[in-house]
C-alpha cells in the first residue's frame, strides 16, 4: 500500500493509507460539466410535456410547495422515475467501466457479454415464478453470476481472449434472452408489454422503492470501488508493472468483477436489462477526458446522463405508444457501437 502511494504521489486523493482515488484536473472539469448537463436533462424531464411542472414552478414545487396535480407528477410519476434513471445509469456506467478495465477491451462490457441479460432472466424468474419469496435483486444477482460463470467456462481461457469472450457472450446473451421469453410466456401468457419490459428494460411506472433499491446498491458499492480505484489505475499499465508496484492484479480483478456484477444486477433489478449504457458510457468518458485510466467517476456520470436523456426521449416521443427506454438505448447504443467498431478497425487497434 505504501508503495502504491509512493508510485504516484500526485493526482490522488488519499484517505488514510487505504484509499487513494486517482483524480485528474480534466476529470474534474468533465465531471462538473456532466453534472450540469444531468441537472438540465432532469429539469427537462420534470417540466416538458402535458403533465410537466413549469420550470418557474419547479423550485417551489420541489421544496414542498406543490399543489395536488404537481405533487402527483413529482411524487408519483416523474420524480421516482427520474431518480431511478440517474441511479441506474450511474450503476451501469460504473459497472461497464470496471469490467472494461478488467478485460482491457471496450467490448468486454456487461451488456455485450450477456451479464445483463442473465440478470434479467434471474429477475424474471424471481419476479414471476416466486413473487414475494425472494427479493428481485437476489434473483438478478444469481442470474448475472450464472451468466458470468457460463461465459468464463465456455471461453476456456477466462476473460483473456477478446474474440472468444465476445462470441461466448453472444451465445450466453441468446440463452438468457430465450429463457426470459420462456418465463414471461409461461407466466404472463400473452402480454407483449410485459415481455418487452423484461427483455429490453423499461423505466415506466417506477416507484420510490425502486429508487431506494438502486441507490442503496450504489451507496454500498461506490465506497468499495473507491478502495480499489488506485490499484485499477496501476493495473492499466500492465500486469507485470502492476505486480512490481505491489498492486496484485488477481485480487483486484476479482473485486472489480464482483462489484461490476453487483452493480449490473442492481440496475437490472430496478429497470430490466437496458442495453448498451454500460458499453457506451466508459467509451464516451474516455474520449471526452482524453486520458488513459479506468475513468470510473466520469463513466458513472456519463451513464446517468445517457439514461436520463434516453428516458426523456422515451417519454416525450411523438409516437402514439410509449416505447420502453431499452429500445431507444438499443438502437442508439448499437449505432454508436457500429461507429466505434469501424473506427477502431480502421486504426487496426482491435
Amino acid at each position: 500500500m505504501t508503495r502504491t502511494r509512493a508510485a504516484s504521489p500526485r493526482g490522488f486523493v488519499t484517505i488514510g493509507r487505504a484509499v487513494a482515488i486517482p483524480v485528474a484536473r480534466v476529470s474534474v472539469v468533465v465531471a462538473i460539466v456532466t453534472v450540469v448537463l444531468i441537472v438540465a436533462a432532469a429539469v427537462a424531464t420534470l417540466s416538458l410535456g402535458r403533465l410537466g411542472v413549469p420550470v418557474t414552478d419547479l423550485p417551489r414545487a420541489l421544496t414542498g410547495g406543490a399543489d395536488g396535480a404537481q405533487a402527483f407528477v413529482l411524487g408519483r410519476l416523474r420524480g421516482p422515475r427520474l431518480v431511478v434513471a440517474v441511479g441506474t445509469g450511474a450503476a451501469l456506467g460504473l459497472s461497464g467501466a470496471l469490467f472494461q478495465t478488467v478485460t482491457r477491451n471496450p467490448l468486454g462490457s456487461p451488456d455485450v457479454i450477456g451479464l445483463a441479460a442473465g440478470a434479467g432472466a434471474g429477475a424474471a424468474v424471481v419476479a414471476l415464478y416466486l413473487p414475494g419469496v425472494l427479493p428481485v435483486p437476489v434473483g438478478a444477482l444469481a442470474g448475472a453470476a450464472a451468466a458470468m460463470a457460463l461465459v468464463y467456462v465456455s471461453t476456456g481461457t477466462g476473460f483473456r481472449n477478446p474474440g472468444r469472450l465476445i462470441v461466448a457472450g453472444i451465445g450466453v446473451f441468446s440463452i438468457a434472452t430465450a429463457f426470459t421469453q420462456y418465463v414471461v410466456y409461461a407466466v404472463e401468457r400473452d402480454k407483449a408489454a410485459v415481455l418487452t419490459a423484461y427483455v429490453n428494460g423499461s423505466l415506466a411506472a417506477r416507484s420510490w422503492s425502486h429508487a431506494v433499491t438502486i441507490w442503496a446498491v450504489l451507496l454500498v458499492v461506490v465506497p468499495l470501488v473507491a478502495l480499489i480505484a488506485g490499484r485499477l489505475e496501476i493495473g492499466e499499465m500492465g500486469d507485470e508493472l502492476a505486480g512490481v508496484l505491489g498492486a496484485g492484479p488477481r485480487s483486484t480483478w476479482a473485486w472489480a468483477v464482483t462489484l461490476s456484477i453487483v452493480l449490473s444486477a442492481g440496475a437490472v433489478s430496478v429497470a430490466g436489462p437496458i442495453a448498451f449504457i454500460a458499453l457506451t458510457a466508459p467509451q464516451i468518458a474516455k474520449r471526452v477526458t482524453g486520458r488513459p485510466g479506468p475513468h470510473l467517476t466520469p463513466s458513472a456520470l456519463v451513464g446517468a446522463l445517457l439514461l436520463v436523456l434516453a428516458d426523456l426521449a422515451a417519454q416525450q416521443s411523438p409516437l402514439p405508444v410509449n416505447l420502453p427506454v431499452g429500445i431507444y438505448t438499443l438502437a442508439l447504443g448499437g449505432a454508436y457501437l457500429g461507429h466505434l467498431l469501424i473506427r477502431e478497425w480502421r486504426k487496426g487497434r482491435l
Partner: protein, 345 residues
C-alpha cells in the same frame, strides 16, 4: 479423407466404406425427418393419438379430428421449408466465408429481412405475402452488405469482427422492428409471434409465396457445391482448378441471402439453426459440400420441426415460439464452437 500413400484398390475400398457410411447416415436422417413430420402433425394443444392421425391421413377420421390435424399441415410445411433454407444457407455461408460462426441469424441477414417486411407493412401499405417477400429480400441484402462493410473495414476481417458486426446490425434492426411492431399493434397483431420466429398462425399462401426465392437459392447452392469444394482449398488452388473464386463467393452469398429471406418471410427471424446444423453435418460426414448440402437439407427441417413440437408441448395449451426453442438448442452449440476458435481475434 484419403491420402496419396494408399494404393488404388484400398482407396476404392475406403471410398466405398465412406459411401456406405454416408448412405446409412442419410437413411437415419431421413427416418428422423419422417418422425419429426409425424410428430409435428400429431402433437399440439389439442391432444390427438397416432391412430387418429393415421385415420385422418387415410381419410377415415371423424371430421372434427380431421380439422384439428389438418390445421397442423401448413406449419409442418413451413417448418420443413424454413429448416431446409436456414440449414443450407448456414452451410453456404460457413463455406464461403470460411467462418465456422457464420449463420444467417448471427450475421444480421434475418434481422434485415424482418426489418424490410415490417417497414413495408407499416409505412408503405404493402399488403399480401408476395410484397412482403420482395421487401424481405431487399432488407436482407441491405443488412448483408452493411454487415460485410462494417465487418471487413480496415485490414482483413477476422471471424469475430463479422460476428460482432452482425450482432450490432441485428441489435439495431431488432430495436427498430420491435418499436414499429409495438407502436402499431393493430397492424402487427398477427406478426407478434412472427417477430420472435414462430411456425404457427400462418397458412399455405405464405408457403407458396416464399417458394420462388427458396427454390432459386437451392438451385444455385447445388450448382455451386462442387466449386465450393475447390474454394475450400484456397483461392489460388481454386483458380488453378478453373473456378473463379470471386464468382463462387458472391454466388454462394447470394444463394444464402435468398434462402434466408425465404425462411424469414415464412416464419420470422430464427437464429442458430443455420449455425448448428452445418456443424452437426460436418461432424457426421466430413467437408464435401455436395454431401454437406444434401445432409443439411434433411437435418435442418428435422431439427426445426422437433424444436417446434417441443415448443408446443412445454407450455400446453399455450405455445412457445420456435425461435425461443432453437435459441436454447443452438446457443450451446455456439458456446462449444467458441472453445475450438483458434488464437485471438
Amino acid at each position: 479423407m484419403s491420402t496419396g500413400s494408399l494404393s488404388r484398390p484400398r482407396e476404392a475400398a475406403a471410398k466405398r466404406a465412406g459411401l456406405a457410411r454416408r448412405l446409412s447416415f442419410l437413411l437415419l436422417a431421413l427416418v428422423v425427418l419422417a418422425l419429426a413430420i409425424l410428430a409435428s402433425v400429431a402433437f399440439g394443444s389439442h391432444p390427438t393419438s397416432l391412430s387418429q392421425v393415421f385415420a385422418v391421413l387415410n381419410g377415415t377420421a371423424d371430421p372434427d379430428i380431421a380439422v384439428v390435424v389438418e390445421s397442423r399441415y401448413p406449419r409442418t410445411a413451413l417448418g420443413l421449408l424454413a429448416g431446409l433454407c436456414l440449414a443450407v444457407a448456414g452451410t453456404l455461408m460457413q463455406g464461403v466465408t470460411r467462418n465456422p460462426l457464420a449463420d444467417p441469424g448471427l450475421l444480421g441477414i434475418t434481422a434485415g429481412a424482418s426489418a424490410g417486411i415490417v417497414t413495408a407493412t407499416a409505412f408503405l401499405g404493402a399488403s399480401g405475402q408476395w410484397a412482403a417477400v420482395w421487401w424481405a429480400l431487399a432488407g436482407a441484402l441491405a443488412a448483408g452488405v452493411l454487415v460485410h462493410v462494417i465487418g471487413t473495414a480496415g485490414s482483413a476481417g477476422g471471424l469475430v469482427r463479422l460476428v460482432l458486426a452482425g450482432a450490432v446490425v441485428s441489435a439495431v434492426l431488432g430495436a427498430y422492428v420491435q418499436a414499429v411492431a409495438l407502436s402499431k399493434p393493430q397492424v402487427f397483431d398477427s406478426y407478434r409471434y412472427w417477430v420472435v420466429g414462430a411456425l404457427g398462425g400462418r397458412d399455405f399462401d405464405v408457403f407458396v409465396s416464399v417458394l420462388p426465392p427458396a427454390v432459386a437459392g437451392l438451385v444455385v447452392a447445388v450448382l455451386l457445391s462442387s466449386g465450393l469444394n475447390t474454394l475450400a482449398l484456397g483461392d489460388e488452388s481454386a483458380a488453378a482448378l478453373g473456378a473463379n473464386p470471386a464468382v463462387m463467393r458472391s454466388g454462394g452469398l447470394l444463394a444464402a441471402v435468398l434462402l434466408s429471406t425465404a425462411a424469414t418471410a415464412a416464419v420470422g427471424p430464427i437464429a442458430f439453426v443455420g449455425l448448428a446444423v452445418p456443424h452437426m453435418v460436418r461432424a457426421l460426414v466430413g467437408v464435401d459440400f455436395r454431401v454437406q448440402i444434401a445432409f443439411s437439407a434433411v437435418i435442418g427441417p428435422a431439427l426445426l420441426l422437433l424444436a417446434d413440437v417441443v415448443g408446443r408441448l412445454v407450455l400446453r395449451p399455450q405455445e412457445l415460439m420456435v425461435g425461443v426453442v432453437t435459441a436454447f438448442i443452438g446457443a450451446p452449440a455456439l458456446l462449444l464452437a467458441v472453445r475450438r476458435m483458434k488464437g485471438a481475434s
